[in-house]
């Protein structure tokens, strides 16, 4: 199995452990990743609130490169994934827009590349059962709340992946790793996303609701597949605890970190230990790292 790989800007900075753990886990499973040559930013949450054409053109520049590469494209960041599939959807629906975008990016867009989230590649293309067979260090005793957030599953006619209200692919991967996927109601609630700058109060309120729900449903930790979700729940957790007078001390892992661990990879090679909420202590307590 071979894919083009679009890391996206966050994975070069605050989410570098998502990049490390995705590459390491895929390598361990025998899935090859070829980084998209000379990729550029997808415009994330800013382009689509500012200029309709720009919001489609920025992802399309990368889609055109991927088409030349001739491989399906994996986008680990949920925001990048969403912008890429949204651009595809809009051009499919509107031939005039497609023409305009092609003029802007100075390239032809064919629509031949399928864009996939990490969860889809692991659970559907590779297969949950095959992941389970390759687990050498089952994460026994770890209780994980699978948190999908908004951008992987909404809107469903665009993302065409899992269920928008009760997705289950990450839960299946958590179970395959030997951990327990807890039932909880906040799988797809919003963390506040890009309001981390302009309205921190909103991020703190929404992220607190998510952390509280995970805790009251018995989770030891949360698994994510989105750098924005991870950043808000992890980096803001200390401030949230202060603001709401509570203690969570809840590690926020990327699903690829947990899977890598279960596949027998070294915690440091997955970037574990670089989170703001201490992420190794819980694993050591459970004798998993």
């Amino acid at each position: 199995m071979r894919y083009a790989y679009y890391p996206g800007c966050s994975l070069e900075g605050t989410a570098k452990e998502y990049d490390l753990s995705t590459r390491a886990t895929f390598r361990a499973l025998g899935i090859e990743l070829e980084e998209l040559p000379d990729w550029s930013c997808c415009g994330a949450s800013s382009a689509h609130t500012t200029n309709h054409l720009l919001a489609v053109a920025l992802p399309t520049r990368n889609l055109v490169i991927a088409e030349k590469q001739g491989l399906d494209l994996v986008a680990p960041c949920a925001a990048c994934f969403n912008r890429l599939v949204t651009a595809q959807h809009k051009m499919e629906q509107d031939a005039r827009l497609k023409g305009k975008v092609e003029q802007v990016v100075e390239g032809e867009y064919q629509g031949t590349v399928k864009v996939k989230a990490v969860l889809e590649v692991l659970a559907t293309d590779f297969g949950v059962e095959k992941v389970r067979e390759m687990v050498t260090k089952p994460l026994k005793g770890l209780r994980v709340a699978s948190y999908y957030g908004c951008l992987l599953v909404r809107p469903p006619e665009v993302t065409k992946f899992d269920d928008p209200e009760n997705p289950t692919t990450m839960d299946a991967l958590v179970e395959a790793s030997g951990a327990e996927a807890v039932m909880w109601p906040h799988k797809t609630e919003c963390c506040g996303g890009s309001f981390a700058f302009a309205r921190v109060d909103i991020v703190e309120k929404l992220s607190n609701d998510i952390l509280a729900a995970a805790k009251s449903n018995g989770a030891d930790c949360i698994a994510t597949a989105c750098p924005l979700c991870q950043a808000n729940l992890d980096m803001r957790q200390k401030a949230i605890e202060k603001q709401f007078g509570t203690t969570y001390n809840m590690p926020i892992y990327y699903i690829t970190e947990l899977l890598g661990l279960a596949l027998g990879l070294e915690p440091r090679s997955l970037g574990l230990g670089t989170h703001m909420v201490e992420s190794l202590r819980l694993l050591r307590e459970k004798e998993l790292a």
Partner: protein
């Protein structure tokens, strides 16, 4: 209680609805005010008008009123409303369209920091091809005068190797800059 003169308002509504739909807000007229969007909206508690009310204002052509709400800036674009709408109205898309119109016409903006963040975000991509989080955070703090927001968090991130002081180098940065230029030519306002 405010008085709304429907006869006067309705006269100009078609033009405004067309404008909203041109900017990507689809099926505005299909909304039948069930309120499902507002019930599921995670940010509705912080908005001055509920998403349902914004939809009704657009239908009635209440342009000045709707463009002055905080709601259009506080939509987090989580797309819960768009996903759940029984009438297939892209409510999050309508919010985006309203922001674009507001900016195009240089109207006063509630929640000024929200578009400020997006402007800085796009400026960095325009110049370098990719986002550079450290630069974004630094410029945002300077622009808002809030230099000490999250200083401790920044320090801890730096020591975890999560803040790159220097931006990435993209060979195709020039082609990204051209994309911005052409979008501005064809659609106006980019930042």
């Amino acid at each position: 209680m405010a008085v709304v003169n429907l006869t006067e308002i309705v006269r100009n509504r078609k033009e405004f609805i067309d404008e909203v739909e041109k900017h990507g807000g689809k099926n505005v007229n299909s909304c039948y005010q069930c309120g499902k969007c507002s019930a599921g909206c995670p940010v509705s508690y912080a908005m001055d008008y509920q998403p349902r009310q914004v939809m009704r204002m657009v239908q009635l052509g209440m342009k000045d009123k709707v463009l002055s709400t905080s709601t259009i800036w506080l939509c987090a674009h989580c797309m819960t409303c768009t996903t759940r709408c029984p009438r297939e109205v892209d409510i999050a898309g309508v919010m985006e369209a309203l922001r674009m119109i507001c900016r195009k016409e240089n109207r006063p903006i509630r929640e000024r920091k929200v578009p400020l963040f997006h402007d800085l975000f796009l400026d960095i991509i325009r110049k370098g091809g990719r986002q550079h989080e450290f630069q974004l955070a630094a410029r945002y703090k300077i622009a808002t005068g809030n230099l000490f927001q999250d200083v401790d968090l920044g320090r801890r991130m730096f020591f975890q190797g999560k803040l790159r002081l220097f931006g990435p180098k993209v060979k195709g940065a020039e082609s990204v800059r051209k994309i911005f230029e052409k979008c501005k030519e064809l659609e106006g306002d980019v930042q």
